[in-house]
Amino acid sequence: MTDAVVPRSTEAAPRAGRGTSWLRRALDSDIFYSFRRSRMTMIAAAITLLFFLLAILAPILAVQNPFDPAQLQLMNSRISPLWTADGQAPFLLGTDEQGRDVLSAILYGLRISLAVGVLGMLLAGTIGITLGLVAGYVGGAVDGLIMRIADVQLTFPAILIALLVNGVAKSMFGNKLDPTSMLVVLVLAIGLSFWVQYARTVRSSVLVEKNKDYVAAAQLIGLPAQKIMLRHVLPNAMGPVLVIATINLALAVLTEATLSFLGAGMPETMPSLGTLIRIGNNYLFAGEWWIVAFPGIALAGLILSINLLGDWLRDALNPKLR
């Protein structure tokens, strides 16, 4: 491997000329300008950030650890929210059947939902980007095979594939998976369901990029294909990938919630937002609306704000895309 003088990508020249910090450049950029112009996007970004903060700070903010059965007391079950007639002091949003504080359960559930969502998105992105790069760069039969699989998978809704992966994992590792392995299975199911979008986008970018002069130059000085793909072609294909990743995060959170709601996701001992909605749904008829309403609002707010961010990013990064 000769690490000869590598021609840095084309943006290197102006970067050296200005010589300011990256923060200054970020604040000067078109993207930040368009961000400041859109109030809706700023609100969505603030809400998304808030959700992430709440998830990270859950152990500090929550009045109890809902995953720890020792902290749950049946005496405190089915208390309605604080502002209603029967509300009780530490339980702002009420408690559920097992005496679990709804707000604490939401904070901890948010952690799981976001963890599965982010990890699932990263896995899908890794699989998709790798296959897209290989398909676009190598071409020929490899390209044909990868894209054929992608086409077939695209005809089936992601949720169906995620359910199947889930079912197969259950039958291979036993029906009663412990919560941590279930988390891994969910990430795997999401990763395998959503890689196609990345692969198609990266491939089409690579097909455009690989005929440009800088790739030819890199090939001429004898760089290995792997290095050209990762260091030179991929950075130039990242724009659309970021858009897909944002929208994919919303979809991943939604898929996890759907799987958990269907009873094919996180167990009730370690609930995600979807599991909480599943549990709460059982008490709707008894008039205990708060057990399902607040996790539902949290989930809908989270997905809506990430989606709005994704929509904005799509328009800001590439006006030609739709």
Binding site: T155, P157, I159, G167, N175, L262, L284, G287, L299
Partner: protein
């Protein structure tokens, strides 16, 4: 044209073959079929007998050929949890799912087209803006939350509609229909709206965009110049030309609707294939999962094939499929 049709047909068969391999691998390799059938204290000799009777000692290729041959004749083996042939279970539940999906599609088409035309013609009225808002919600809210919300409003609070099940059904041959009884019709309203809401917003947006485009064309201007009534122009000329892509998309989405009925059926405890599939996953009933996969794939592939062939006949411009979240 014939060459195109043949090529697409071969591709469809190829896809079904691939799905068949996946279904077979699930059946054969995910967990041990024998231990699912016998009880824990069955002696090894008996287990071996069961093994032999299932043909699990044959070469894998032979097993696959047998599985595929059976699947083509709609024999999917026995369900682990129900101890009944999977094909019978599927047949029993298929009418419920197909009726739900059909009613959902009809609702989404009727209201989607009406709302789309309205938002295109009267863009700045408050009602048009309301429709746009509803469409944003329809795309962002998870299906199951919409279902729960409807149940809370119309079943728990108002008590107008039943919250679960299909109501009374009438048997017509092997097909059981809930569309001929009052309780059956009441029961299908909420699930069909829940299932069709996403499709409705999709069709509304599509009709709106197409209408706005068509209204700018020369032949509409010419129709106005000729002095035709606004109604004739809007509905006789403009709408008619937007309907081809709308029907195509609705057709392609029918398969997706069937797959998404998994969620709706679970929320409303609708006794269809989707609910059975979810229960099969919870109970690790692999034969049902494999059979559901094969059945739904067959429906998907058939619809895609028919639509593909039809729209090269009708409108060569339309060649993209629409993907949906949940």
């Amino acid at each position: 044209m014939l060459a195109f049709t043949l090529r697409r047909a071969f591709q469809a068969i190829g896809v079904m073959f691939a799905v068949g391999i996946i279904a077979f691998s699930m059946f054969r390799f995910a967990g041990d079929p024998v231990s699912q059938i016998v009880s824990i204290d069955t002696p090894p000799a008996e287990r071996a007998a069961v093994r032999k009777s299932l043909g699990l000692d044959d070469p894998v290729v032979v097993q696959f050929a047998r599985y595929f041959g059976n699947a083509v004749q709609f024999k999917f083996g026995m369900s682990y949890q129900f101890r009944q042939p999977v094909a019978n279970l599927l047949m029993e539940r298929m009418p419920a799912t197909l009726e739900l999906a059909t009613v959902a599609t009809i609702i989404s088409m009727v209201f989607g087209i009406l709302m789309g035309v309205y938002t295109a013609l009267k863009r700045d009225t408050w009602l048009a803006k309301l429709f746009q808002m509803v469409s944003l919600i329809g795309i962002s809210l998870p299906t199951f939350l919409i279902g729960i919300l409807l149940i809370y409003l119309f079943a728990v609070t108002l008590g107008w509609l039943p919250s679960f099940g299909r109501g009374e059904v009438v048997k017509i041959g092997w097909w059981s229909t809930g569309l001929l009884t009052v309780s059956g019709l009441k029961a299908i309203i909420m699930p069909a709206i829940t299932l069709g809401l996403f499709q409705m917003t999709l069709i509304m947006r599509l009709v709106r965009a197409e209408m706005l485009e068509v209204l700018r064309t020369d032949y509409i201007r010419f129709a106005r110049a000729r002095g035709l009534t606004t109604r004739a122009i809007h509905f006789g000329h403009a709408l008619k030309n937007t309907l081809v892509p709308v029907i195509t998309v609705a057709g392609l989405q029918f398969g997706t609707v069937i797959a998404f009925s998994i969620i709706t059926e679970t929320v409303f405890q609708w006794p269809g294939m989707g609910l059975m599939f979810v229960q099969a996953i919870q109970n690790v009933d692999i034969p049902i999962m494999a059979a559901y996969l094969l059945t739904v794939s067959l429906i998907f592939v058939t619809i895609n094939l028919v639509v593909d062939i039809l729209y090269t006949v009708v409108d060569p411009r339309l060649r993209s499929t629409v993907s949906r979240p949940h």
